[in-house]
Point group: C2
Chain length 403, copies 2
């Protein structure tokens, strides 16, 4: 029942994540954790309730307007539900006594729900009012170091999309109400995308159309008239902030001359639920969900024969296969589903498996009962169908990358 | 810097979780996931923003009073920040078409932030305004099945506390504003606990004092005058709800006679951040944090000799040891920390390691350079100190249970 749905609408722009989608999201978070850890990121968790005082200090309490959910507590103190956490993290940094320059760069990130009171929530998870975001904040000793960190985080974003097998483009972007002097968006090219991009056919430069002059056709990098328009879904956004927040919150470190100095900051967002929704959007067809292999909710679906069919005896073989794959291959622990609705035909269940998007579907039929048993394997990503021995199957599946 | 703190205060009753504490919490969540999965629980994720309509339908919009954070969106629609999700989950169940009795019991749970506008937040994470809770909701075909599920969840709670090595007691409790006819609390006995418990010295029956007559000294189970008072920290609460919510939301399933029937419900809470705080509270001493072994942020700390000391050459041995333990023992992947602040004495770093509560501290000194190298190992839980060969050390640490 709940096994087959992905999300279910609640209030406008809010969703129940059902078990299968949540499983995929948890894998995506593990992937992000891995890559953030690889560049020295430390995971923290900041409150959703943010005091108005913090936002007034940065000057954004007014600026954010109706996009921010605001509320009063029982003592009439003003709060917002954090749409982003520059203020909070900078306060946290500022509260730590004598941070030595040796401890920088400091990269703090969290994967939490964010809140944005969208005028018109739409496209399901793509533009919701409550969504998961990975937001990272960097603190550096000077501009040079901060820009180095900036590029290192951008590279790690690229690795994440590469590991997901997604086509992506990094485009020059506007800094909006976050501020700062340098900004990029990570976009997945897609016709349904809300963002208009300009990509240079000559040098590869790309930018969000927001950053260009109206009607501009000349590339700002190579100066050729080779810009073409395309559309994209924004899944990541990076900002070099300079000292905009660290100055306001007195986020200081002690430099090599033992003198307090203002930290240089960057902030880096990845839309977790957005990546999930956008990748399904760009990879799927009308009649089948397709997931990035690494974060497919389950990797393998094993189909035993229909009850009462000639191959009936293969049912046991299928059950044993499903169990042994999950037990013997460490990468497939918990990743193998047995579709034991054996009152249904193989064809009907195969169709369901295609709709749900298991990367590998193993059909256990009459051939599994032969002296040299073989199994039909359908690889959803390539569309290929193979007949493999048990050893061949184990060999194929042992190479599936999981997280 | 941030490595050494656990939490940092934000607004009243709200906290930043720093990297070490978050790491422990993520382990606790994995433990809970394992145990919920073992009893058939399916993980979901429900919005924090809950429509007032839902809460009016159950009659709790007024009842919850000032404990609930309330807000308006930009269209002036009323919301609360979910302190608990009986309404939401029951609406989700009701929205699914024709759930067969064969699909029940259905156990849905989430691990998310909950919000409660406490009059006086106190005791750090023990009584916060924003905290993590695991809440599970069960749907059954009848009372008998629902009570069976109820006991199965209670047993799984017991297993969780046992695996954490915590002393716990399950006490009869009041149902409060959640409702229902049967309720238990899971309490960790502790002098700083806010809950007054009565425990029978004869039959072992226990109850929260709220459920008893004033001045009652007779055990309601064995009728002897053997009740004694003690204090506890509530870390879990279970409720058999009957049809209180399923009736109001028309949460129906199709029974064996193919007729729609109202589901019987239970709800089950575990205070995730509370367990973390309470277990540290009951296990630690004034000068050392002690964690339940399974969820200690890191299992092993390796201490290389002080720079310039006689054992200086053992520094490399220590570095290699830390690396090889983390690589060769699958249970210790990511669990080994090398404290390379070699300008500090072993004694000073050993003290820090004790304060931080690493279950195992390995001191690499002169003896590591002998023909038959040996290592000093301090087991924090037992207080024992041992001298072990590399093989002995690997053997000891390979048995450490991690999650």
């Amino acid at each position: 029942m709940l096994q087959t749905g992905l999300i279910h609408p609640s209030n406008p722009g809010c969703f129940y994540y059902l078990p299968v989608a949540l499983r995929s999201m948890e894998k995506l978070v593990r992937l992000i954790d891995e890559e953030m850890h690889a560049i020295g990121g430390q995971k923290v968790d900041m409150p959703a309730l943010c005091s108005a005082d913090l936002w007034k200090k940065s000057g954004r309490w007014e600026l954010m307007g109706k996009e921010m959910f605001r509320l009063l507590d029982r003592h009439n103190a003003e709060y917002c539900l954090g749409p982003t956490h520059e203020e909070a993290v900078t306060e946290l940094f500022a509260s730590q006594t004598t941070i030595s320059y040796k401890k920088l760069p400091l990269l703090l990130y969290q994967v939490t729900r964010k809140f944005r009171d969208e005028q018109k929530p739409k496209f399901g998870l793509l533009r919701g009012r409550e969504f998961y975001m990975k937001d990272m904040y960097s603190f550096d000793i000077n501009e040079e170091a901060a820009l180095h960190t900036y590029h290192s985080v951008c590279q790690s974003y690229g690795r994440i999309f590469d590991r997901l097998g997604l086509k992506w483009v990094q485009v020059q972007a506007a800094t909006g109400n976050i501020g700062g002097t340098l900004s990029h968006e990570f976009q997945l090219p897609a016709d349904i995308g809300e963002d208009q991009l300009l990509v240079c056919g000559n040098c590869g430069f790309s930018a969000n159309i927001e950053t260009m002059e109206p009607g501009q056709t000349e590339c700002s990098q190579c100066q050729k008239n080779t810009l073409t328009e395309s559309k994209g879904i924004e899944v990541g956004h990076t900002f070099y902030l300079g000292t905009k927040y660290s100055q306001a919150f007195k986020a200081l470190f002690v430099n090599a001359s033992n003198v307090p100095a203002v930290a240089e900051m960057g902030c880096f967002g990845l839309g977790v639920t957005r990546i999930l929704a956008a990748s399904i959007e760009v990879m799927s067809s009308e009649d089948a969900i397709r997931w990035p292999g690494l974060i497919a909710p389950y990797q393998v679906c094993v189909l035993p024969p229909k009850k009462g069919s000639k191959a009936n005896e293969a049912t046991l073989v299928a059950e044993e296969l499903a169990q042994s794959l999950g037990n013997s291959l460490p990468n497939l622990r918990g990743e193998v589903v047995l579709d034991d609705r054996v009152q249904m035909t193989i064809g009907k269940r195969l169709k369901d498996a295609t709709i749900l998007g298991y990367p590998y579907v193993v059909v256990v039929g009459q051939k599994a009962l032969e002296d040299l048993p073989s199994f039909e394997v359908i690889c959803q990503q390539s569309g290929e169908t193979m007949f493999l021995s048990k050893e061949g199957l184990v060999d194929l599946l042992s190479k599936v990358e999981t997280i």
